[in-house]
Amino acid sequence: MTVLEGARERWVRTGGVELCVAELGDPDRPTVVLVHGYPDSKEVWSEVATRLADRFHVVLYDVRGHGRSTAPQPLRGGFTLEKLTDDFLAVVDAVSPDRPVHLVGHDWGSVQSWEFVTVSRTEGRIASFTSMSGPSLDHFGHWIHARVKRPTPRRVGQLLGQGAKSWYVYLLHTPVLPELAWRGPLGKSWPRILHRVERVPGRGYPTSSLPSDAAHGTWLYRDNVRPRLRKPRADAYAHAPVQLITPLEDAFLSEKLYDQLEQWAPQLTRRTLPAKHWIPRTRPDQLTAWIAEFVTAVEGGTPEAGATGKHADRFGGQLVLVTGAGSGIGRATAFAFAESGARVVAVDRDAEAAARTAELSLLVGAPEAWAETVDVSDEQAMGKLAERVAAEYGVVDVLVNNAGIGLSGSFMDTTPEDWRKVLDVNLWGVVHGCRLFGKQMAERGQGGHIVNIASAAAYLPSRSLPAYSTSKAAVLMLSECLRAELAGQGIGVTAVCPGFVNTNITSTARFAGVDADEEKRRQKKSARLYGLRNYPPEKVADAVLRAVVKNQAVVPVTPEARGARLMSRFTPRALRAVARLEPPL
């Protein structure tokens, strides 16, 4: 019956209903109360609850009228937020009479939790609140009023946007029909719809109580939405620290709803993730990590997140692996992720440089950072690295295949050995990375992102870089193909084409067809030219983070890379003419 293995059950009687409460984990640990939404029962939390259970005392209950809890009689007027608050207090008094609890709500669970955390009678009973996909109806009411009162074009747009996303709320207000639908065809096809549209995996969810959950739950809307939106409370201030987790692809809620949330919740930590509405089912690992981190921080007395970087809401606590992290773009990328609070694995064949990157990453905000010494072109070593990372640090959330080497010289001067070397690192290194870590991401089934550092040379023909350009063009196309393949699994793939960036790739590049002295001279000259251009790798790192956040496919970075990209599409002949010129070395 239940998908919550090992749960202890108890019944709490309150206000004429009996609530089914399940507990996991050691009751001496901090208590985390998970509240489910609509149309759900507490089993929506099964994946998250079991992951949290080894560190916390986890409590779940079926909201009245849902799951195995009984429904109030009559239904009308039995689901007001006041009554739901009574239920919550009864549950926490039973499971954690002495200590305040950490509240977590999804969807309607979050809507009612906002009520719990903003009314005065629960003060001292709630230590923290993690909200996902469920705004406070009072805040929502104020949000609408502000936009109706001062309808600038942008605000009208926001209003219409959310108005369209709320179509189901209007339907649920029609009498009888929703109940008939849920108990009839909709209830039957709902699991299939969830799977197809929302990509929610099955695994015992939704439970068999779905038709009655959904039918009873309509009264959540009918009892609360109209009165609260018409007359929102003016004092709906949160009296506990709040963590807001916003899925960016939510079909029902616009992220604009939370624009001014700081005024209602002064101690606010924001998190975002690229996922649809049912994140407790689709992203349990990430939610578990964020809930655990937040609860631990609040228990320790520091509710604010440590990282201050640009995308800390997105990358906080995520595991990021960067190859070629010992210098240049790789190192700058590792630092940028570290600043956003990500856990960083710095991979480089130069052990000392990788260690240095890991060490400095810790200084700028990474909660954890490790150095790994691997040559990306070595298939076996990469395989071992993938195993070690999965076993010791977890599944990688963002993979940056950055390691690459330079090779200049005409085609006729380039020996097969040169070709092998450049393809081994620039192409095979990326292939190994994508294959090994991409597989882990896909198997976990909770999304992720792969960034491959290609080059402007990928679409910019030139007589002096045939081998390098070929390897990078292959990386670009590999990224595009992989993007198509992995899109269905929520894994994004990006190819970044930096252009001329001031890194040490010039001073380590091989120049084919010239003797050692001449090679040294050209390395020096090109390093000086790149130094004069002085495009910093930090800007490429910013572009990498932005590309992951926006899930962009191909990202040319420097102005010349962008210009060349435009030319390759619209004036390819001009580009071919430029390709014939000798570089000034």
């Binding site: 210098s327 630092f335 240095r356 400095l360 200084l363 700028v364 930090e538």
Partner: protein, 296 residues
């Protein structure tokens, strides 16, 4: 012992140190050392008085007043103060941005005080990095500057072209994971020559630089142009020459994600054949060196 060529140029020959006057050179250097110590004392005194809410302008004024009270009348450049990410010259486009602003100091913020007083005709140019309360990133940067101080001295003693030393410093910075921020200075200099200046009753400034000192620099530039060297030590071709004898204010400046750190002090270069005597730091008893010694 061989004399320091160029030391005291423009002062009427009275301070010119020659082979015969090694003792005179020592006296001369002692004077410069006194000014440099005075400047570092000022930096430490002002740094100790910095509190949350103090602005860069106020910090610059504190330095100016402290030194005025002790007899400083002229400047190579007026005191600078940089707080927060301005220590790493984030988004600096025009030289005017170096001047102190109304940026306020906050707990944990890094700061840099940079001043170049002229006292009794001798110039000092120093840079002092610190933070209001602990700042692990800046502490790390300061610790890593030690290698640069050693590298610069070693390579100057080897008489390597200044341009190549500049590039080696650059490479070390990159290996350490930092950005070169001295390239933001005018002409991207890592060092510049300082000298004696004439004491005048009236010495105006142009864009914060004392006209007497600028005159000295310009005359050096002119001589250098004829003889194939430059009083500015930079990444460009004009620095492609071995170290020129004289006093060089050396200021490597590291930047790392919005935090900067530098030191600045005088390196004495002579034309002595003995490497030890060919180049040495004017004073090894400076705050950053003491800090490194304490850390060991």
């Amino acid at each position: 012992m061989v004399g320091v060529d160029g030391l005291g140029r423009g002062t009427g020959g009275g301070c010119r140190v020659t082979t015969a006057a090694a003792g005179e050179r020592a006296v001369e250097l002692r004077k410069f050392r006194t000014v440099q110590r005075l400047a570092y004392e000022c930096a430490e005194a002002v740094a100790a008085r910095l509190q949350p809410g103090v602005t860069e302008r106020e910090a610059a004024r504190m330095q100016r007043e402290w030194l005025r009270e002790r007899g400083v009348r002229d400047w190579f450049h007026l005191p600078f103060a940089w707080f927060g990410d301005r220590t790493a010259f984030v988004n600096f486009r025009v030289p005017l941005q170096f001047f102190p602003t109304n940026r306020r100091l906050e707990p944990g913020m890094p700061f840099i005080l940079d001043m170049a007083p002229v006292f009794e005709g001798c110039t000092a140019d120093i840079g002092y990095s610190g933070s209001l309360g602990p700042n692990p990133v800046q502490e790390r940067l300061m610790a890593d500057l030690e290698a640069h101080r050693e590298l610069i001295l070693r390579e100057v003693r080897e008489r390597r072209p200044l341009r190549e030393i500049y590039e080696d410093v650059d490479r070390l910075m990159v290996r350490q994971g930092y950005a070169n921020r001295h390239r933001a200075y005018p002409f991207g200099v890592i060092a510049h020559k300082v000298d004696r200046v004439k004491e005048r009753r009236w010495s105006p400034y142009v864009f914060g630089f004392g006209t007497q000192s600028l005159k000295g620099l310009a005359s050096d530039a002119l001589h250098g142009h004829r003889e194939g060297w430059s009083p500015l030590w930079s990444r460009y071709r004009f620095s492609d020459h071995p170290p020129h004898p004289g006093l060089w204010a050396v200021e490597p400046h590291l930047g790392f994600r919005g935090t900067g750190a530098k030191f600045e002090e005088i390196l004495v270069v002579t034309d002595s054949k003995d490497p030890e005597q060919g180049a040495f730091w004017l004073d090894d008893d400076v705050p950053h060196v003491r800090r490194w010694a304490e850390g060991k």
